[in-house]
Assembly symmetry: C4
């Protein structure tokens, strides 16, 4: 009964591998059906080569297993917290992609240095606070979601569909799994370009608000004029 | 009636993907038929996997659509301005390729550090000025063309078939689409080599005028002696 | 009679090539059968394209050839010393993979900068001391094993399945060849991420003990809750 | 009559492409038959996709064309000068491979930072002097050979089968075309590893003479014990 959702979530997980954003089992994608109040997520530690739609786990919003023979991703509580906090998102992606992870490990947000970034992310990519000992030792995965949500006070998650979790990697999201995966792909590109930019010009500032507005808004929002629609 | 032009422009767009200079819809190639006074350009936001010659848009030099069912690339006014300003070029390429974008985002021109560069570009790759708020807010894409043309005062665009647009990416061009694509490929290689060069030797200067002349002129101009013709 | 062991060791050697951790003959994998008291190892200088299970050499623990028509890897004495010193490991991998080699050549241990690292290695990746003239000139390969073993005083090799040999490359290991190869793959990823991390934040410290414990122990040890078992 | 030589030289040229050391027409390999006193070399500016053995040009040692319908590589005088100066080499490779070119452009020799380097090159990879205006303007390609030969005073070219030409790229060589190509492949790897090494440890010194001797001499010379012979 959740076949289409499982299918979409499975395909999105495999796209991460195709785009070289994950190896082994280092990533996961989930999707939510807000009407049915269920989340579909990758099973924990299952090799991508053996991942098929029927192995995707279906959960209720509190994490209760509704359908599936496997244990869900150990990061499930993070995903559920994000779905509760960001009520308009439809899918979430977690990766340890190389350049995004470098910035996350360096505990630096990624400034908006150019139009590639501005076309997708409306400002600097935020980095969370380092988690406290208590947040780590008790309900770590849930707290990972909370520390992200806390960082997004005053930020619209649909205009900033990515975050760097300090010392860890990235979470990205979107209205659906296609957007969530795209955000992960673009984040990695932007992270690499920004890496080179600060090497070539350590004092470089973010682009102007006008240029950020121009590029973000020509692709997003009611006055968008990019593409065919 | 514009079949050959469409075919060439379509193929050039796909070559950018093949050479990993663009992902998603981050680039475009156009070509001009100066006798027929028409420009062929990629449709806006169309996925490269679905790009076929019949989707290429044919425009007049002022941007009026002559043939095609799709909206042209949102960067069309930039292309048209370049065709008006650089009257000898026959094709234009726009990409956000990684290393070229790093230099563009760092607002640094790429010095000519070696013969790879000198074989194709007769001097440092110029970077435009940062655009003003007014240039961004009104006719942004047209002004992108103007800011490039302004930067080329005193520079022969056929001897310098590339520019870095500050905070953005690159435009390259040539007598035809093969040259425009080649310029994009070489620019990315040269940008990567120069990146490593300034890391290894931050004080390094550009090569001598004699070496620049030797390499550029053995491949270009009336005394060229490279190749079979 | 050692067919299965040879087969496993051969396959593991070829996986290094598939994961682009070795080119030419720059690497080798061995496996031990502790009951039978034999070690299987790649033959010296044999091209990976021509490597088949029947070319794998079977040795006694003192290096005496038991089966095989080829000379064993010149690094054999290093492998044997590690099997003697680390009595719980079942396979060993040696590579000159790029980023691991950079750290080894720089004589720097790789700090644990993030959870990717913490998921596999319980602390910083150690680097050996530089070998003395005497250690190099007499029984070099045996001494390479000894210098590694010396560095591991007080470190559990199963919790730290990798080492950087100063001025050289890496050795990794595990309970079996699958783990040894995985350790090599992850080490290269971790080495690359850490490289970028110190470029972006030269003062960055290792992650907290709590985060290291959380990630390492959720995948390893008796309270692990990652995966399906 | 020179079929085998042409075949070997053609194949070696194509291997450079396969190993991603050249794009377009940025490289060339030649081979010499010292008994027949002829050199076989790639034709100038011919695309690698269209390169076949019958297009390889056969020259006398002074550059006179003996066989072939194409003009030889514009770098031919450099190759011929190297064959005259280094009387034991049998093949030469020229590339602009990325990391080797970075060091050449930075005018820095590549120190021997590790055993990967020491296995193939007996010391630092030399970089030539910058060429004078006169050397560039008159007989540039011949002088490129001379400036290399001058740099090799006191160096055995078979123990150091590579050079960086300042502001340009690399030449490598060997007893035959297989060795010349291998030297080019290894040089690129070594150049990349050394690049990372100086980033991680700017003060790092070359390895000790003992380690250099141990690794170089276990693979080369009369006491070699690496491999099967």
């Amino acid at each position: 009964m959740y076949e289409q959702l499982k299918e979409r979530v499975c395909r999105a997980n495999l796209e991460l591998v195709g785009h070289k954003l994950v190896i082994f089992t280092w990533g996961n994608v989930s999707g939510i059906d807000r009407q049915a109040k269920v989340v579909a997520i990758k099973p924990s530690g299952v090799d991508y080569n053996e991942l098929t739609a029927d192995k995707i786990v279906i959960l209720g919003l509190e994490g209760n297993i509704i359908d599936g023979d496997f244990r869900p991703s150990s990061d499930t509580p993070t995903h559920l917290e994000l779905y509760r906090s960001f009520t308009e998102i439809g899918a979430i992606c977690h990766t340890h992609s190389q350049y995004a992870a470098m910035w996350a490990q360096a505990e630096r947000e990624i400034p908006c240095f150019g139009t590639t970034h501005a076309d997708y992310f409306y400002g600097p990519i935020p980095v969370t606070e380092v988690m406290t000992k208590d947040e780590i030792q008790n309900n770590y995965e849930l707290n990972t979601g909370k520390v992200i949500a806390r960082r997004f006070k005053g930020i619209d998650p649909l205009q900033m569909p990515a975050v760097l979790v300090a010392n860890h990697g990235s979470f990205t999201w979107g209205k659906d799994s296609t957007q969530a995966v795209s955000s992960a792909i673009v984040l990695e590109q932007v992270a690499k370009m920004a890496y080179g930019t600060v090497r070539l010009n350590p004092q470089q500032n973010a682009i102007s608000q006008s240029l950020l507005d121009k590029h973000y808004l020509r692709k997003h929002g009611k006055n968008a004029y990019y593409g065919q629609t």
